[in-house]
């Protein structure tokens, strides 16, 4: 992974020291809350319902064991022994004290972690493919470009006060594990017929109050012209984005208002002015690329006797292998997905002890490489098939071997009203209730790929718009109700879900999901996922079944 140099490390230490002084001044009453709030948010510190929340950046979801252990340690010493992995592949601590935050930032800085640009109207953490460097599907390693974007965007003076927050996703595989088409900018690595590498540039996707699948504004941007083009996109946005209305300030609103063609025209015009002088030199890209050089993999055969024997002997391991292990580009290796969706657990939560277990496994069996997915799970991208049974056993002992990746119980849920000051309704108990209903793994596997995503408010941190089944918590005269949408997708076939009907009270949501699943099982044709069936049948049979009682 990319290593910070001395200057980077000094900067992080200085930044922590600066915040320490700011906190001292606030506690001493030398600056007001209004003055201080902007400073604390620049360090990822929010005030939520019960305490402060610190959002730690995990750049493109990539961690090493030392960093994950430090997060575990902070969770244990400054929080209540756990942390919450988010849909932006960050980690949130929910029980933070303001007076202790400077010490936490100092400790994070010792392992090259921080909370900069995890809040505010700036360029936020880049989402990338958690299988980067491990999947045979990829054209290039998207971490190279994600890291380059991180460096370009970090404290970028021109783009630190945008009309609104700004989120990138970078992927290089046909199978999109980043939700690229619902980001402010989605970059998909492409290769031209002559072998030249470049990007499909998608601008103006997003969720929240006004969801859009972003249009492609450039089919192929040569890779060496990326940064001048990004400058041009951000400049057009910075100039014309709506600063008068925060609900209309995201770039998606601008792109939709201008139309993709006019937005493209303005970007191209600006790009001419920016010129290639703004591009990152090839030598710098090469330097970054070297940090992600392919691992030294052992030469192995495809078939692992130890793996096959364990599968035959242990049905639980066989099930785990079926659902949580993904193909690796190298013979004899596998990608291990670690579900943070234990039945009845809080989606995305990991205890400090669990983080330590994953760190140990990453170090011992996984080339010291750990990833966070935007679906709130963890990944060990490089594990030998020979070692998979041992990894499974250790995960199982830590309560981390739930074999449900991409199944109906692998639910995204934002913290919702259990923690969040913005939420209108709880998301976590809905996820827990649905998980309990589908706890039977045989049934869950029978249903197959089905992505449920739950948000506790219209800001859509739980990505409900792109859930195969989306659930949005709303406040109806002070009561928690839930609006269901069907047919959304955040993958390469991105689509915003369609509203099913009137919002349901909390105690009817799981029954409704059950009904929707039964309709799918009844209607599905051979080989169809839930999403495929829905796209074929439309909303009618589902709506009819869920609201039958009302007729």
């Amino acid at each position: 992974m990319y290593q910070y140099d001395t200057l980077d490390k000094e900067f992080l230490a200085d930044r922590a020291a600066e915040f320490k002084e700011q906190v001292q001044r606030r506690l001493a009453g030398e600056i007001t809350e209004d003055q201080f709030k902007a400073l604390r948010l620049r360090n990822g510190l929010y005030l939520q319902l019960h305490a402060y929340m610190l959002r730690v950046a995990i750049p493109y979801g990539s961690l090493n064991a030392v960093q994950l252990r430090k997060l575990a340690d902070i969770g244990r010493r400054y929080d209540k022994g756990y942390g919450h992995f988010t849909t932006r592949t960050n980690l949130q601590f929910h029980w933070i004290k303001l007076r202790e935050t400077p010490a936490i930032l100092e400790e994070l800085a010792t392992v090259d972690l921080h909370a900069i640009q995890t809040s505010g109207n700036c360029i936020r953490n880049v989402t990338s493919d958690p299988y980067a460097g491990a999947t045979a599907e990829e054209i290039d390693d998207p971490r190279v470009w994600s890291e380059a974007i991180r460096q370009w965007s970090m404290l970028h003076p021109e783009f630190s006060h945008l009309p609104r927050k700004f989120k990138f996703a970078v992927t290089a595989s046909p199978k999109d594990r980043t939700a690229a088409r619902v980001h402010d900018i989605g970059l998909v690595v492409r290769r031209a017929r002559d072998g030249t590498m470049g990007f499909e540039v998608i601008v103006g996707g997003g969720m929240g109050r006004t969801p859009y699948v972003g249009p492609t504004i450039r089919e192929f941007l040569p890779a060496n012209r990326l940064f001048s083009y990004l400058d041009a996109v951000l400049r057009v946005y910075n100039r014309h984005g709506r600063r008068d209305n925060s609900y209309k300030a995201r770039i998606k609103i601008l792109v939709a208002a201008l139309g993709a063609d006019e937005f493209r025209r303005q970007v191209e015009e600006e790009w001419e002015k920016v010129g290639p002088g703004a591009d990152m030199p090839d030598t710098e890209i090469a330097r970054i690329r070297a940090a992600f050089a392919p691992k030294a993999f052992d030469t192995l055969v495809n078939r692992s006797e130890a793996f096959e024997t364990a599968k035959a002997a242990d049905p639980a391991f066989a099930r785990f292998a079926r659902n949580n292990l993904k193909p690796h580009k190298r013979p004899g290796y596998t990608i291990v997905e670690i579900s943070l969706k234990g039945i009845g657990d809080t989606p995305g939560d990991a205890t400090s002890d669990q983080m330590d277990v994953v760190a140990d496994l990453g170090e011992r069996y996984g080339q010291n490489d750990i990833r966070v997915t935007h679906e709130q799970n963890l990944v060990l991208p490089h594990v030998k098939l020979d070692d998979a049974p041992a990894v499974f056993a250790a995960l199982a002992a830590a309560g981390l071997a739930t074999p449900n990746i991409n199944l109906i119980t692998d639910i995204i849920a934002c913290p919702g009203l259990d923690y969040c000051a913005l939420a209108n309704a709880r998301a976590i108990p809905i996820a827990q209730d649905i998980a309990h209903r589908f706890a039977d793994q045989d049934r869950a596997e029978l249903v197959g790929e089905l992505k449920i995503k739950i948000s506790g408010c219209i800001n859509a941190c739980g990505h409900h718009h792109v859930g195969h089944i989306g659930i949005l918590g709303v406040d109806k005269k002070g009561e928690e109700f839930y609006q269901l949408t069907l047919g959304g997708s955040g993958a390469e076939d991105a689509e915003v879900g369609k509203m099913l009907g009137p919002a349901l009270p909390a105690d009817r949501v799981t029954d409704a999901i059950d009904t929707i699943v039964e309709v799918y099982l009844r209607e599905r044709a051979e080989g169809e996922r839930f999403l495929d069936t829905f796209r074929r049948t439309g909303v009618a049979p589902f709506k009819e079944a869920v609201y039958a009682e009302a007729h």
Partner: protein, 119 residues
């Protein structure tokens, strides 16, 4: 009936007004049966910006013979996160906590709405 709430500046803890002091338990909060008394306390609370932030009045209802916040958002603040019953004030248990847990009222607190509008 109303009570006055805020978050403590230095640790974010949910606190309630009681006769010029901020206390952690809702059960210890001072209750205001008329608007002028509550608004006077709110004014005093807001004059302590280096002790607390986001000061506002919450509406209450009766539950099991005790008073509870009308809005479930405020009950969650007074209790702790429902997903971790061992975290927050709910972990203490007892009749006052049980009454909060069993309360079923549902509405937004006018004080909170005003706070959002102010922002």
């Amino acid at each position: 009936m109303k009570a006055l709430t805020a978050n403590r500046l230095d640790d974010g803890e949910v606190v309630f007004w009681k006769a010029g002091q901020w206390v952690e338990r809702f059960a210890d909060a001072e209750l205001f049966s008329d608007d002028p008394t509550g608004e006077a306390a709110e004014g005093q609370g807001k004059s302590q910006p280096n002790t607390v932030i986001d000061v506002y009045l919450i509406d209450l209802i009766e539950s099991e013979g005790l008073w509870a916040p009308l809005s479930y958002r405020e009950r969650i603040r007074a209790l702790g996160p429902p997903n971790h019953p061992g975290h927050g004030k709910q972990a203490e248990g007892g009749a006052a906590i049980e009454a909060l847990m069993h309360a079923t009222g549902a509405s937004r607190s006018t004080g909170r709405v005003n706070l959002i509008k102010r922002k």
